[in-house]
Every structure is written in C-alpha cells, then in structure tokens.
C-alpha cells in the first residue's frame, strides 16, 4: 500500500515547481500528506488485524480469556448411604489436602512440622523430610482433612509467618458408625489426583454411578481478588450424587453385630453371620458379619474381613434344612405334623453309610413334630422316602437354594444344589437333613422366611426403592418378586412343628425362646466340608433360624457361627444370640405378644 502511494507522492512533489514558502501553504499538498500518514497508520492496524484474526485467532482468544479469568471447579457432593430411617451409614464432608512447597518451607521446617503435627493428624517425623525435600515444589502433608480444619490451620500458619502451605480439594468420606454395616457399605480409597472419589468395596463401589455426582464449573473475571462486576461470568452448577437408601436398620444392625461378636468369641468360633429379615417384605434389616472392619480405617483389618461372609461364604446348613424338607412334604400332602414314625437307633441305607442321630437312642416313636423338635436325622430321612422322584429338588429350588439372591451385595456365591443328573436316593437322604447341599446365610434366611410368610417366598432386598448396580442389574424393594412355594396350611403346620424346638421340655433349643412371645425356630449343627482334604474336617457350623411371633411373624432371624471350639451346638451357641436379637427387634418395633397359646403338638406316640 505504501509502495503504491509513493509514486503519487513523487509526482505530487515534483508537479508544478513552486517556491518553498508556497509549498508549505498548499492545501492540496497538506491534505495529501495527511491522508498518506493516516493511510500508513491504518495499514499498520490492518496488518495487525490480519495477524490476530487471520493467522491464529484461537490461541490469542484463549490468551485474552486467561488474562484475569478465573476458572474454579464446583465440587459435586457424593451421595450419602442411609439406613431405612435416614440415619447415615456413609456421608461426605468437604475436605481439603494440605500441600507444602518445600522451596518455601525448608527454612522453618522443624518449627512448621511441630506446628502441623500439633494441629493435624500427622506425624512429625513423617512430614519433616517432606518439608525439606529438595528439587520438589509439591509435597503432601495431610490428605482428606475436613475443610474447616485445613483452612484454619493454613491461615494460622500464614499468620505466624510460615509460607508455602496451600490447600487443594480432597473429599472426605466419613462413616459415622464405624464398623456398623461396614461389611455392606464398603469403603473408598484415597481420592484420585483430580479430587474425585475412588470407591473400592461394597455399596460404595456397586452403586458408584448413583452416588457419584457431576462436578460443576464457574468462570469469572477477576481483578485484585474480586470478581469484576458485569465481567464474564458463567456457572455450570454441580450435580450432587444421589443418596442410596438401604433397608438396613442401623441400631438393629449395631445390636446384632455386638451380640454376634459376643456369641462368636464366647464359643471360640472362627466367624459368624446374622441375618434379620422383615418377614412380610423381605427387607434385610440386618446383615452382620464377624470379624468385620472399621470403614474409617479399612486397612487396619485383615483383608479377608473386608467383604460380607454372609453372602460370600457357602457352607452346609445342616438341620435347619430339615424344615424345608418337611414343609415340602406337608405341602405335597404326604405327611402331617402328627404323622407317626418308628425311629431306629441307626439307619442303614443301601449304598450309603449308616445314618445316626446326635443323641443315642434305641427305637423310639416320634411324630413328625417330634422329629423336628429333637432334630432327628433318621426320622427326617424316613419321612423323605415319601417324596416322589425329583420332588424334593424342585421344592428346594423353589425355596431359592442354589441360586443367588440378587440383592446387589458384592461377591455373592450361589451355593450348590446338586444337579438332577447326579441326584440319587443316597444323596437325597443326606440333603434331607442338610448335607451335600451348600448355601449362603442370606439364601437360607430367605428360605426359612418363606415359611414365616405363609408359604410365599419374597426375594430379600437391601436397597429401599430401586438402584442399578455396576453390572447393570436393577435391584431393590421395587424389584423383589413373590412366589408361592408351599400352601398356607403347610406353612402353618411347619411353624407349629418349629415351635416345639424352643419348648423347654421337648425341644433342643430352649435358649432361643423370647419371654412372652411365641417363637418358631430350628437349630442346625453341620459338619464342615474342607476343600483341602475334601472331607469333613471335624469342625462344625452351628446355626439357628427362626421367626416370631409364631402366629403372626414379623422378623426372621438366622444366626450362623463357624467352627465353635467350645463344643456348643446350634441350640446353645445360636439360640441365645437369636433370642437376644429377636427380643430387641420386637421391642424396637413395638410388636406386642399375640397372646395366644403356643403349639402343643405331640412329639411322641
């Protein structure tokens, strides 16, 4: 542009030859020179404009935007995990990490380390080398500190003249009840670098999609630490995670865990589980395991205790299974509670080992109710003979054995209900009293609850409403299905037989009785199969399953203790624990005694 104009200037200057004085005064010339200057300046502007807009507009735009523009992440709060009454089992608190810049802290390291060790939960000797680290500008001092504490400590440090401490986002996950329901709720790990939660186990992991929120973002122009009014200001609000409401009852869960711990320790057992179901809805009110862990400090516990044994451990249920066998028989119309059986001392069956009872006896005459009350293996096997081919298996299948309960608890084992192809008479005899069949505690509790609920099996559930697991499965009370397994009459007869178990005169588990209430139950003492020697290793699984009030059941409770070493059985180890938990549940939910007389079915004839 400049070059095109230059010839014109020359012609203008050379045009009419005039004296120097006149030349300055010529308006035309002045105009032309002025125009030229303006054009030159404008052309510089145009060149700059092309450079900014034409060559790389995006990078210049972002540079301009970054100047004085602050972007902050609006952290989304992780949803809480609540019990059925809204009490928190896991909740999130705003948290910060305290980070040091050793380049600034190295000089005052010992004083600063002492200051921090006094105020934060950190060790003097751990942080001292970090405050002095060379070639580093970033050292963690404390992670997941509640925001109020972290900001006050850092501002106090600054006031005392210690520079180089900053805070960054680091969410805190708090389990206010510690080990209560930790086996189900699970725990989270140290937050990731970007400040998001890392779920590791239990519901935290299974329902992470539900609990996890979406972080928001705010962008605004800043000058001298203040927002510029009418400056750029966009906010994308954070979407908080949703709460997960479980069917658990925190207080009942707590009480059950303490009673279970005592029962396991007193009996010298290895581990144990308690399941409490609401008989009418199948809601899991309690699923306790021992040993368990403190969700606030999961790493202090044995790794084997971090899951839920009640669903992951399978074992042979033993005599508790007899009530399923008998309930099926009554439903099929083969027997009644008063069916008379002549029970020999030892039963020798073709192709199998001799079957004996837990107590020595000669030939005795028991009714079916007596078989249950005294937990006679021989009597059960004799009654089982009345089953048609495959009938027992289809009943057990309908009771839910051999299939996972689908509650959404991690690591559930389905247990083993032998396949039809290997089903034999000898196998059926053993299964009739609870051997050669494996269950998990929740499965067995749901099966016994079928009898409590008038013969209708309800899927147990741990989530109130509905939730989707990480494997895409819909779980919760909304998805629990019901299925009639035995008739109402069969369920009532079985209940009456089970009531005789806790009778102080004829039953084997008077310790399971709850004063003032009618209780139906059944003990179980099973030999434990060891996968190492592939045999029964001489240890036992003792259990007690039952429900109350017997004529209008509200709760079904199943207590299992593995490998007690004090020689106790299902009645003496599981029974008292059952009684305590049932008594507490009935009190807690204000269930009055029904006021009717307990079953007086004859046990002998």
């Amino acid at each position: 542009m400049r070059q095109t104009r230059q010839p014109m200037r020359r012609t203008a200057a050379r045009g009419p030859a005039r004296p120097a004085g006149e030349l300055r005064g010529s308006p035309q010339l002045r105009l032309r020179i002025g125009f030229l200057v303006i054009a030159m300046v404008l052309s510089v502007f145009v060149g700059r404009l092309v450079q900014l807009q034409g060559l790389d507009p995006a990078s210049y735009a972002s540079m301009a935007a970054a100047e004085g523009l602050e972007e902050i992440v609006l952290p989304a709060e992780r949803g809480d995990i609540l019990d059925r009454n809204g009490e928190p089992l896991a909740e999130s608190v705003d948290g910060l990490m305290v980070v040091a810049d050793p380049a600034l802290t190295a000089d005052d390291a010992p004083e600063l380390a002492r200051f921090l060790a006094n105020r934060l939960d950190v060790d003097y000797f751990t942080i001292l080398p970090r405050l002095r680290a060379e070639d580093s500008r970033f050292q963690y001092i404390a992670r997941s500190v509640p925001a109020a504490l972290a900001t006050s400590v850092v501002s106090k440090a600054r006031a005392l003249g210690y520079d180089g401490l900053v805070t960054e986002r680091d969410p805190v996950r708090e389990y206010p009840a510690g080990d209560v329901a930790a086996n189900l709720v699970g725990f989270v790990g140290t937050p990731r670098k970007n400040g998001t939660t890392k779920p590791l186990a239990g519901f935290e992991r299974t329902f992470d999609d539900l609990l996890d929120g979406v972080d928001g973002e705010a962008r605004y122009s800043v000058a001298a630490g203040n927002r510029v009014p009418l400056g750029e200001n966009t906010t994308v609000p954070a979407v908080d995670g949703e709460d997960l409401r479980t069917t658990l009852d925190r207080d009942l869960q707590f009480y059950s865990q303490r009673v279970l711990r005592q029962a396991v320790r007193d009996s010298g057992g290895e581990s144990g589980s308690v399941v409490v179901l609401d008989s009418r809805t199948g809601d899991v009110l309690t699923l306790a395991d021992y040993p368990t862990f403190d969700a606030n400090h999961p790493l202090e516990s044995d790794e084997a205790d971090l899951g839920s044994r009640a669903v992951s451990d399978v074992y042979e249920p033993g005599s508790v299974e007899k009530v399923l066998t008998v309930a099926g028989l009554v439903d099929a119309g083969k027997v009644t509670a008063r069916t008379r059986l002549t029970v020999p001392g030892v039963l020798q069956r073709e192709g199998d080992n001799p079957i004996s009872d837990w107590f020595d006896h000669g030939t005795i005459r028991l009714t079916l109710a007596g078989v249950i009350a005294q937990s006679s293996n021989i009597g059960t096997v004799m009654a089982t003979e009345k089953y048609d081919d495959g009938e027992l298996r289809s009943y057990l299948d309908a009771f839910g054995l051999g299939r996972t309960t689908g509650t959404g608890i991690r690591g559930e084992s389905a247990g083993i209900l032998p396949d039809e192809s290997i089903w034999s008479d000898a196998l059926q005899d053993r299964i009739a009293f609870g051997q050669s069949v494996s269950v998990n505690a929740l499965q067995m509790a749901a099966a016994v609850n079928t009898i409590a609920n008038g013969g209708v099996r309800i899927d147990p559930s741990v989530v109130l409403g509905s939730a989707t697991t990480d494997s895409g499965q819909q779980v919760g009370t909304d998805h629990a299905t019901e299925r009639r397994v035995i008739s109402e009459d069969a369920a009532r007869q079985t209940t009456h037989m089970m009531e005789r178990v806790v009778d102080p005169e004829v039953g084997v588990a008077p310790g399971a009785a709850v004063p003032g209430y009618r209780v139906a139950g059944k003990t179980g003492t099973a030999q434990r199969a060891s996968s190492e020697c592939q045999c029964y290793d001489g240890s036992y699984t003792v259990s007690f399953a039952g429900f109350a009030p017997a004529d209008d059941p509200r709760f079904t409770i199943y207590v299992v203790v593995q490998n007690p070493t004090n020689g106790g059985g299902g009645g003496s180890v599981g029974g008292p624990a059952f009684s305590k938990i049932m008594g507490y549940a009935l009190r807690r939910y204000a269930v009055p005694p029904t006021g009717t007389d307990p079953s007086r079915l004859p046990v002998e004839w």
């Binding site: 186990a201 790493l299 971090l306 079957i355 084992s413 389905a414 003032g516 592939q534 005694p593």
Partner: protein, 246 residues
C-alpha cells in the same frame, strides 16, 4: 460550481424576478437559532455531566458490592465447612456405639421383655421379667494380645557372680537384631500405606476366587462320599459335644 449556476441563470427566463428574489430572502430567518442555543447546550452538558457522574457512582457501588460479595462468599465457605464438621461431630456422637456406651456408663440395662398397654381397653400384656444383668451387651472387643515385641520379657535369671566371656557377645547380638526388626516394621508400614488403595479390588477378586474353590472342593467331596467309611449325621442340641456321629 459557480459556472454551472451561471449557466442555469442564463438559460432560465427572467420571469417574475421580483417574486423570486423575495422568496429567496425569506428562506433562512437569521437570529432564531442563536436564541435557542444556550439552554440546549446547557441541557446537553447537564445530561452528559449527570450521565458521567451517575455512571461513575454506579460503577463505584458495583465495585463496592463486588468486594462485599467476595467477602460474603468467603464467609459462606468458611461457615459451610464449619457446619459440615459440626454435623460430622454430631453424627459421631449419635453413633449407636457411643450412645450405648454412655447409656451403660449411666447404669442403664437392657429390658428382658417389654410390656404393652392397650389404650382402648386398658389391658396390660407382656411378662414382667427382670431386666438383663448389666453389661449383658459387650460393646468393645477384648483388647487384642500385645505384639510379641511389646510383651514384658519373661523374667530372666540374673547371671551368677561374674560374667562369662560369651555373655557380652550375646547381648550385642540381641541389640543388633532388635534394630533390624524395627526397620523392617517401618518398611512394611510404608508399603502398606502405598498399596492400601488396592486392597478393595483384591478383596473383591478374592471373594470370587473363594466361591470357585469352595464349589470345586465340595463337588469333589460329594463324589467321594460313598467311599467313606465313617458314619454320617448331624449333631444337634446342646449336649452334642463328644457323642455326635459315632
């Protein structure tokens, strides 16, 4: 320009020249604009001045409220954090374990059975058993046994008068091994902390593995059952101790 005007003039017929001249004289009356200028300029100046001052004031107040907003925002953040930590404290106090411990400390005991009063007819149902003995519910696990290195050492016998030459060496060894142990512990702690976050994954996997192995073992065992000689059966009830299956 003037030349064209002249040309038009020459071309036009000079008809009604006087009228044309009169008309030209009256087109622009002089002095009228001068009279209106002063108030108009004053008005404009006032408007401009008012606008500028108003804008300045508005801007200042905006700045002022921006400061206030920032300060309030900071206060809100601090208060939110405080509220969160207070509610955390509250939840810790409401922890059933804590409540139960305090109740036991005050001498409260668990009832054995409740009684019910029916308001409609005034009947009382339920048994009147004595409450369970205090401490029926053990709230805390018994303390774990001390790790070996913290247990008080077994009483050692004082060596007889005079020391044998070997004794000093032995004591030196003991010190050395003690140091070794301690440093080993520290290493273990540190690695535990670092890898801790993976524990959950591992436990999940392990549950699956346990399931698989359990099943395998038990199926095998059912296959073997018929070959076994021992009599089988379940043991039940209280007294089952020794006389179970045999």
């Amino acid at each position: 320009m003037s030349s064209t005007a002249r040309a038009i003039q020459t071309r036009l017929p000079r008809l009604a020249e006087a009228a044309v001249e009169r008309a030209r004289l009256t087109v622009v009356p002089r002095g009228r604009t001068r009279a209106a200028k002063v108030p108009f300029v004053t008005l404009l100046s006032l408007l401009m001045l008012g606008g500028v001052v108003g804008l300045l004031l508005f801007n200042t107040s905006m700045q002022q409220s921006a400061f206030a907003a920032t300060e309030l925002q900071d206060r809100a953040t601090v208060l939110t954090a405080r509220q969160a930590s207070l509610s955390m404290q509250l939840e810790r106090l409401r922890d059933p374990q804590n409540v139960a411990r305090r109740a036991q400390a005050q001498g409260l005991v668990l009832p054995a059975a409740p009684q019910f009063l029916d308001l409609s007819d005034g009947t009382v149902t339920g048994t009147t058993d004595a409450a369970l003995a205090p401490g029926t519910l053990a709230l805390d696990p018994p303390p774990a046994p001390l790790p070996a290195e913290l247990r008080p050492p077994a009483p050692t016998q004082a060596p007889p008068e005079g020391t044998l030459p070997g004794d000093r060496d032995r004591s030196g060894d003991r010190d050395g091994s003690g140091d070794g142990d301690r440093s080993g512990d520290r290493d273990r702690d540190r690695s535990g902390g670092r890898e801790g976050s993976d524990a959950g994954d591992r436990s999940g996997d392990r549950a699956g593995a346990r399931d698989g192995s359990g099943r395998e073992g038990q199926q095998d065992q059912t296959g073997d059952d018929t070959g076994e000689d021992a009599p089988r059966g379940n043991r039940d009830g209280d007294a089952g101790g020794g006389r179970n299956v045999q």
